[in-house]
């Protein structure tokens, strides 16, 4: 984040209206969501850090993420509020929260949630920009990302503010400046700007990373199992990270199991199929820009053909001209500033339906190698065998979608079939039955391959895309596109076949071993009988036995 361009976009009031789809609709879910938002925020920061270090050719640091969820008494919270007031400063505790009466849900308890990472940290001056406003993020280009709304931690901050009225505490330090920044911050939802009760710089504190502490109302009874499941599944697809989790007195370590960092996502230009009319308009507004255009006499505006070539992936100028002339019926040499609403409408329509653009580029995606996932699965699930399959890459609305299916079999996996779903390497834990992966699993007819009444199977499906085709804004499950379901189903079946082969091979080996055992037993018996009938002449029992074994070894081992 230290390296990214940030931009103020929109108002924080959004949260109040959309808390449900954002995952803050009840105390339990809010607790879970707060944790995951902070963690995913940290993971994104660490990934960016790794990418930057790799680009510079420097040694990378493996991410360590520490999570503490600690119940606190109501009294503690009250004291904290009073202390906050005493510390005064700007007296900001009450300011900006008039809209939020502190709500006391009877099922609600109070928790401190703290998440810290060893990522790049945020420069002191940028903290207010990053955390103070709601819609902040990279805007141009598309990129596979974890974040669900581009605002991760800020949602949790507002939730904390809403339930306890307490500031969020932030500690941050970057690699290049050996000092720590400390903030107590909340968000003024009206002005969409940060309110600091405290901010200070502590010199000579040479760590780096970000640590956030929230005081919020929630319900851990509901959330605890989900949180543990979340980390278990998260460490399966993020096996290069250490997660240290403390919940009250309990400590959990989800240990890093691989040194291998998967290729991280790369930002690419959008594919013409993936752009709607509003986005197209936004894109035309980036001009005039002088530096990108060959012919500068047009005052920084490109021709339409140039615009398509520069701003979209996979369109050469030739393709652009052909497309504009024959499909859209617009002069390719028309300048971008000459476009009117009708032109834009026509262009947008044509772009989304033209079939001759190359398929979306999938090389920008971050795909976890099979080996890393299998290493992690071996530690977390302790299966007997894993088979991983890469599905066909498909395009949905101009975005490449990549499927990986791993099937872990036997060992410590309890009987039955369990489905793990991942979207851009984030576990999806809710609304399983609505998900395309669940439907694909039903259609894949696992019983044809594996008897799940006898064997335990975990089916791990990872969907990666520059835009995951979620069903709705809550982003709990992936929509049921026929092509996607079919692709997932086929990859599952391929993986199941691998397991089936493994099982039959194992059974054949077992059978052969058993047969050999029997062969030896019977040979021994034969030796005894033959020796008895012939009274040990011409061969003793042990001689006969020895010779029989020699033959068995020669013929069957």
């Amino acid at each position: 984040m230290a390296s990214e361009k940030v931009e103020t976009l929109s108002a924080a009031q959004w949260f109040k209206e959309n808390s449900e789809i954002a995952g803050f609709d009840n105390p339990g879910k809010s607790t879970f969501t707060s944790v995951r938002e902070l963690v995913e925020n940290s993971l994104d920061a660490c990934d960016d850090d790794i990418q930057l270090l790799q680009m510079r050719g420097e040694e990378i640091e493996y991410p360590n993420i520490n999570i503490v969820i600690h119940p606190v008494s109501h009294e503690r919270i009250r004291q904290k509020i009073l202390a906050n007031l005493d510390e005064g400063g700007s007296g900001s505790v009450l300011e900006g929260i008039e809209d939020f009466e502190i709500e006391h849900d009877p099922s609600e308890k109070y928790y401190v949630i703290e998440v810290g990472d060893n990522g790049p940290g945020i420069y002191h001056d940028l903290v207010s920009l990053v955390f103070g406003t709601v819609f902040t993020g990279t805007k141009y280009g598309i990129k596979q990302g974890r974040g669900r709304f581009g605002m991760g931690a800020k949602m949790a901050m507002i939730h904390a503010q809403k339930t306890t009225g307490l500031d969020t505490e932030i500690w941050s330090a970057t690699r290049d400046i050996p000092e720590e920044s400390y903030f107590r911050i909340k968000i003024d939802l009206k002005s969409n700007s940060p309110i600091y009760s405290t901010q200070k710089i502590i010199p000579d504190n040479p760590w780096h990373g970000l640590r956030m502490r929230l005081y919020l109302g929630g319900n851990l009874i509901w959330a605890k199992q989900r949180i543990l499941e979340y980390f278990k599944q998260m460490s399966l697809v993020t096996p290069y990270v250490n997660f240290r989790l403390v919940i009250g007195d309990e400590k959990y370590l989800f240990k890093r199991v691989t040194d291998e960092i998967p290729p991280l996502p790369i930002e690419t230009k959008p594919h013409p199929h993936g752009i709607d009319i509003e986005e197209l308009k936004e894109m035309t507004k980036r001009y005039p820009r002088k530096f990108v255009i060959k012919n500068e006499k047009n005052e920084g505006f490109p021709t339409l053909a140039e615009f398509l070539h520069i701003d979209f992936q996979g369109i050469g100028e030739g393709t652009a001209k052909k497309f504009l002339r024959y499909k859209v019926d617009i002069d390719p040499n028309m300048l971008l500033n000459e476009l009117n609403e009708a032109h834009i409408f026509k262009l947008s329509q044509a772009m989304s339906t033209y079939d001759d653009f190359p398929a979306p580029d999938s090389s920008c995606l971050s795909i976890l190698p099979h080996e890393s996932l299998e290493q992690a699965a071996n530690v977390l699930l302790e299966p007997e065998y894993i088979n991983s399959v890469t599905g066909k890459i498909i395009a949905i609305k101009g975005h490449p979608v990549h499927i990986t299916t791993s099937v872990a079999f036997g060992g410590n996996i309890p009987t039955g079939a369990t489905l793990y779903r991942f979207a851009n390497r984030i576990p999806l834990l809710f609304k399983e039955r609505s998900d395309v992966c669940y439907k694909a699993l039903e259609e894949a007819n696992i019983k044809r391959y594996i008897d799940v009444n006898v064997h335990g199977v975990t089916v791990i499906v990872s969907v990666v895309s520059t835009r995951i085709p979620y069903q709705d804004a809550a982003k709990d499950f992936i929509a049921d596109y026929d092509e996607l379901r079919e692709t997932i189903k086929l990859s599952m079946q391929k993986a199941f076949r691998g397991i089936k082969t493994y099982i039959s091979r194992k059974e054949a080996e077992k059978k052969k071993e058993k047969e050999l055992e029997k062969l030896k037993d019977h040979a021994d018996r034969l030796a005894i009988s033959l020796a008895k009938i012939t009274k040990g002449i011409p061969m003793s029992e042990s001689e006969i036995q020895h010779k029989l074994m020699k033959i068995i070894e020669r013929e069957y081992i």
Partner: protein, 387 residues
């Protein structure tokens, strides 16, 4: 005509049915040649099998031996007589995953029998099974191996000193010496004398009977022995109680060989009754190799025949419809070669299949408890109603 003169005429008829031939039964050319071996010969045969296996082993070759197949697929039927024998088809038992078990079982049985012969003792199949329950697991396994060994040695099972517990019974006008004891079968109460499995211990057969009455089931045997049928007619009453065992078949053959008496059979009027009749007369597929020791030729089918149901006015209520299995079995029997030697039997089978019903001997009781002994049998015998 007086009762006595009638009887006299009847006995004259019967005497015409007697056989005088005692020569060895000829087996067809392509049948496996089976010999009755002496104790010493059998013991030597087993040692030879073991030594053959060891000599292969001595050359580091897999021990292997050839064992004749004893199933229906290797049964051959003498086209002339319809009798069933065993062919030359054989399987190889060797040291391989698929056949080592059978080899080990066969040689284990050979070991047991070898020991038995060395002691000059007999044993039952059951006892032999218990010598190695672990290996055999089921008695049927060791039983089959005994037959396999016998046929491998080209001899009959009796030569292995393994006897099956016999279930047959005999009563009536016959005396013989069994293991040195004189047995008089007229003094056996109503239960009869159990037929001994040790058939080679039977000697000095003496009888004043005019025929043998062979019944399929114990129930018919009991009612006839209770009625002391052998006092009314000079006869020997026998039963194998269902499918006859070896001892019963041997005993019957022995009696007929010694006395030349005709045998009248009373079976159920169903396909299984006819199949049992076949076992006595032509042999069984499972024991084809012992046919020369087991088969009795001079057997006539007295009753209960499908045609009797009309002729003797048996009430329709006691007829039982043929089951699908009955029909299947009946059709299979029709196709068998031995039946061509008994066209009258074939006629009865066809009649049974046409009418679609069967009846058991007990059905005669529907006409009164004494109907069989007082009316049916006398009428049958005296009107020479046998085929």
């Amino acid at each position: 005509m007086s009762q006595a003169s009638q009887n006299l005429k009847f006995f004259e008829e019967l005497r015409k049915l007697r056989t005088t031939e005692k020569e060895e039964m000829k087996s067809p050319k392509d049948a496996l040649k089976i010999k009755e071996l002496s104790l010493e010969e059998t013991k030597q045969g087993i040692e030879d099998i073991a030594l053959n296996l060891l000599s292969l082993l001595d050359f580091d070759e897999r021990p292997r031996m050839s064992v004749p197949i004893r199933s229906a697929q290797n049964a051959i039927v003498d086209q002339e007589t319809g009798k069933i024998f065993l062919g030359h088809n054989a399987v190889t038992r060797t040291l391989s995953p698929s056949s080592v078990r059978q080899l080990a079982v066969l040689i284990r049985v050979a070991e047991g029998i070898h020991e038995l012969l060395a002691l000059g003792r007999h044993s039952t199949k059951r006892e032999l099974f218990y010598t190695d329950v672990n290996l055999f697991q089921e008695q049927i396994i060791s039983d089959r191996a005994i037959e396999d060994l016998a046929v491998t040695l080209r001899t009959i099972r009796n030569a292995t000193n393994i006897v099956a517990s016999a279930k047959g019974k005999i009563i009536g006008r016959i005396r013989f010496v069994e293991s040195g004891d004189l047995i008089d079968c007229t003094k056996m109460g109503t239960g009869g004398k159990a037929i001994t499995p040790f058939q080679e211990q039977i000697e000095q057969i003496d009888s004043d009977a005019e025929f043998v009455l062979l019944v399929e089931k114990d129930a018919a045997f009991m009612s006839l022995s209770e009625a002391k049928i052998y006092e009314r007619y000079p006869c020997i009453l026998m039963t194998g109680i269902g499918q006859p065992d070896i001892a019963t078949r041997m005993m019957l053959r022995k009696i007929v060989n010694e006395t030349g008496l005709p045998v009248f059979a009373i079976m159920d009027a169903d396909p299984y009754g006819l199949e049992i009749l076949r076992s006595y007369t032509f042999g069984s597929k499972a024991l084809g190799y012992e046919t020369p020791w087991l088969v009795t030729e001079n057997i006539y089918w007295l009753g209960l025949r499908p045609e009797d149901m009309d002729n003797y006015k048996i009430p329709k209520e006691v007829f039982i419809p043929l089951t699908e299995a009955d029909k299947k079995k009946g059709k299979e029997l029709l196709d068998e070669i031995w039946l061509q030697n008994k066209p009258k039997w074939a006629e009865q089978l066809k009649l049974m299949l046409r009418s679609g019903v069967k009846a058991e001997i007990q059905a005669l009781a529907s006409k009164g408890f004494e109907y069989m002994t007082e009316q049916y049998l006398p009428r049958k015998l005296e009107s020479a109603d046998w085929i």
